[in-house]
């Protein structure tokens, strides 16, 4: 996979993950063009399209478009599966996910994506493992926050 984009029906970008090195300007340009192309598609059309020299696989879930760009020799059907798996992960984590969840907790969405895909390839096929890893990360985050906010820490900081 070369990149994955999530955008709303109004064309606002919610998530972007790039697995190829591109300059910022190019990224913006690609995003703009791709969003236009995908949004112009009618609902009954098939989920694959050819764009530049890449294959684009997109799927619409409620008001969000999940769009992946894959190379020539990649399997389009399995990319659809990957997109579906990612949505399932988000659903499990957020509990019945909606676009607002992704807007307000976008960093969690990125974490989940990073646990699931690495360098454009699936790295963890088990849903359970991915979610467990995220939970552990959450726990660590809470503990650190607690230490930060504890009185003992404040007292240590005051010592400076």
């Amino acid at each position: 996979m070369q990149f994955m984009l999530l955008f709303s029906r109004q064309g606002k970008l919610r998530l972007q993950k790039w697995y190829v090195p591109l300059s910022d300007k190019e990224k913006k340009k690609i995003t703009r063009e791709l969003v236009q192309t995908v949004l112009a598609r009618k609902p009954k059309m098939c989920s694959f399209l050819e764009w530049r020299d890449l294959k684009i696989v997109y799927k619409r879930y409620a008001s969000l478009y999940f769009c992946c760009a894959i190379e020539d020799q990649d399997n389009e059907l399995i990319t659809l599966e990957i997109i579906h798996r990612y949505v399932e992960l988000l659903d499990k984590y957020f509990g019945s996910v909606c676009e607002l969840d992704i807007i307000f907790n976008f960093e969690k969405a990125y974490f989940i994506l990073d646990e699931f895909l690495l360098g454009g390839e699936v790295q963890e096929t088990s849903k359970k493992n991915v979610l467990k890893a995220i939970e552990q990360a959450d726990l660590l985050q809470e503990k650190t926050e607690n230490i930060y906010h504890s009185k003992h820490f404040h007292w240590c900081k005051k010592a400076y």
Binding site: C46, F48, E50, N75, L77, I78
Partner: protein
């Protein structure tokens, strides 16, 4: 999860590519995966698709490939659009290698042409065009023509050119071919390629027996609709050429509605005046009118009037034509009939080039082709070249150069080396000798530019008299390029004085047989000498 399976299959594909052994060991495994996968869910379909891709890429057994094609055929019947799209794309890749297996699914593919989704119908169109062969060409053409009428505009151009190409390759009869092209022109005239007009005129010109039929069809098509420019151009040309056949009205197939001369002229005038006609079309129509002046029996006043009107037309091309035709009517009326005779068949440059390219291919593949391209086109080309070398006396030299028997041709093709020759020195050649004046040639083939031949011509004088005003000119066949450098001088002192050297550079990219004709003029022993001769016995290494 299926993603792992897919990755494993990918790995197998990479391992098996171009590797016989591993491909064989994988055969059973792939067959098993293909048959045991549950296709009710998309994940199963994804795995199956990956299996098909793997089978396509490795050196699999024939049975396995047929299995892959059948799986794709099953995909085509699936209700999910995505799967059908994926199947069509993969079948397109497979059609080159497993043509017969894909043919079995032709009806399903043709059905997919009716899809509403543009990307699907485009894929289906490409695949259908690839599947056309000589046996199913009529049925396929019907389907494709029906599709042409209903397809979205951006696909029209591709569809039209595809139909024309397929018709050209597999046309069972000339008449069917002309019908098909006519149909395409009427339906999608504006979308065809530019050379379609030229092709069609050439085709009609070549089909003697169909002149009357085609001109009649074109006339009726033109009478209905003059907006499709390529159609109008072809129709105008045909009416101009075969207008007499149109008026005669004795065509055996179509019922001949009597076509009056006045009608024809009126139609052409409408074309001329219509604002929809391109300038090129107008040019065609004007020329057609002129040709009709000799073909039709009626008097030519109407035509003269039209032509003189256009003598002051704003369009420069039309004006030029009209003025020239006007002059033809007035001053050169006696020549008019001769000038406006029926056109001879124009040689199709494109087809020639194709034949030559094919010949070169067979030479490169050596024994893989069962029957090499016939040497006739090669032979006739050589004949043409010989004629072009001005006034050659060497007509009797044809037999040793040509070898009409196929085995001989094969031997010649085998002679063409496919490994670069080591630069063996080419022997010098004495080409001319007269009264002590001698011409020698030495050849150099620089190894880094294989198509270049350098000839150094050395002229020596061993006689008792000087040679003055020595000029040497050369000619080579048309496919070669010759460059003469300035000679070192044009005087040869007597008794072995300083020789004159001159360098010829010959570019021979097609490795055509080298023929060289020389023309020498000089003054020697009190009289001027002019010699024209062909250099014989040129060593083969000079041009191979």
């Amino acid at each position: 999860m299926s993603a792992t399976t897919v990755q494993i299959l990918r790995l197998l594909r990479i391992l098996g590519r171009n590797h016989e052994e591993s491909s064989e060991t994988m055969n059973d495994l792939l067959a098993q995966v293909a048959t045991n996968t549950d296709t009710s869910r998309n994940a199963g379909n994804a795995v199956l698709f990956e299996t098909v891709l793997t089978i396509m890429d490795i050196r699999s057994a024939a049975g396995l490939r047929v299995l892959a094609v059948n799986i794709l055929g099953r995909f085509l019947l699936n209700s999910d659009k995505n799967i059908r799209y994926v199947a069509l794309t993969s079948l397109l890749r497979l059609v080159q290698s497993d043509h017969s297996a894909v043919q079995r699914h032709r009806p399903v593919v043709v059905e997919c042409l009716q899809e509403t989704d543009a990307s699907l119908s485009r894929r289906a169109l490409e695949l259908s065009l690839a599947l056309v062969n000589s046996s199913n060409v009529r049925a396929m053409m019907q389907e494709l023509q029906a599709f042409l009428e209903s397809c979205p505009p951006d696909l029209r151009a591709d569809c039209a050119s595809g139909i024309l190409l397929a018709a050209e390759r597999f046309a069972p009869t000339k008449r069917w071919h002309i019908d098909t092209i006519l149909h395409v022109l009427t339906k999608a005239g504006t979308h065809v390629r530019d050379d379609a007009v030229a092709n069609l005129t050439q085709l009609i010109g070549g089909a003697q027996e169909l002149h009357a039929y085609s001109v009649r069809r074109l006339y009726s098509a033109l009478a209905e609709d003059i907006s499709q420019q390529p159609l109008v151009q072809v129709a105008a040309w045909c009416i101009g050429e075969y207008g007499d056949l149109l008026v005669e009205g004795n065509c055996e197939d179509t019922e001949p509605p009597q076509v009056e001369e006045e009608d024809i002229l009126a139609l052409l005038e409408t074309v001329l005046q219509s604002h929809m006609s391109l300038p090129a079309t107008r040019g065609y129509a004007l020329t057609a009118l002129m040709k009709l002046s000799t073909r039709l029996q009626g008097d030519n006043n109407r035509i003269r009037k039209v032509v003189s009107i256009y003598g002051s037309c704003l369009d420069v091309e039309l004006q030029q034509r009209a003025v020239e035709y006007n002059t033809l009517f007035q001053k050169y009326d006696h020549m008019r009939a001769a000038i406006l005779e029926k056109m001879p068949l124009v040689e199709r440059g494109g087809a020639r080039v194709e034949e030559e390219a094919k010949e070169r291919q067979t030479a490169a593949q050596l024994l893989e082709e069962a029957a090499p391209a016939p040497p006739e086109p090669q032979a006739s080309k050589l004949l043409d070249l010989l004629d072009l070398l001005d006034g050659t006396p060497g007509n009797t030299q044809h037999p040793p150069l040509l070898d009409p028997s196929p085995e001989g041709a094969l031997v010649n093709l085998l002679d063409l080396p496919c490994v670069p020759l080591p630069p063996a020195p080419i022997p010098n050649l004495k080409v001319f000798e007269r009264e002590g004046v001698q011409l020698n040639m030495s050849f150099i083939r620089p190894p880094e530019t294989p198509s270049l031949l350098l000839i150094t011509v050395t002229t020596t004088n061993s006689s008792g008299g000087d040679v003055t005003h020595f000029i040497c000119q050369a000619a080579v066949p048309k496919s070669l390029q010759l460059q003469l450098q300035a000679p070192s001088g044009n005087t040869l002192p007597a008794q072995g004085g300083l020789p004159i050297t001159q360098l010829f550079k010959i570019l021979n990219p097609n490795k055509a047989p080298l023929r060289l004709k020389l023309r020498l003029t000089y003054n020697h022993l009190g009289h001027s000498v002019q010699e024209i001769f062909e250099v014989n016995n040129l060593p083969v290494e000079t041009w191979q």
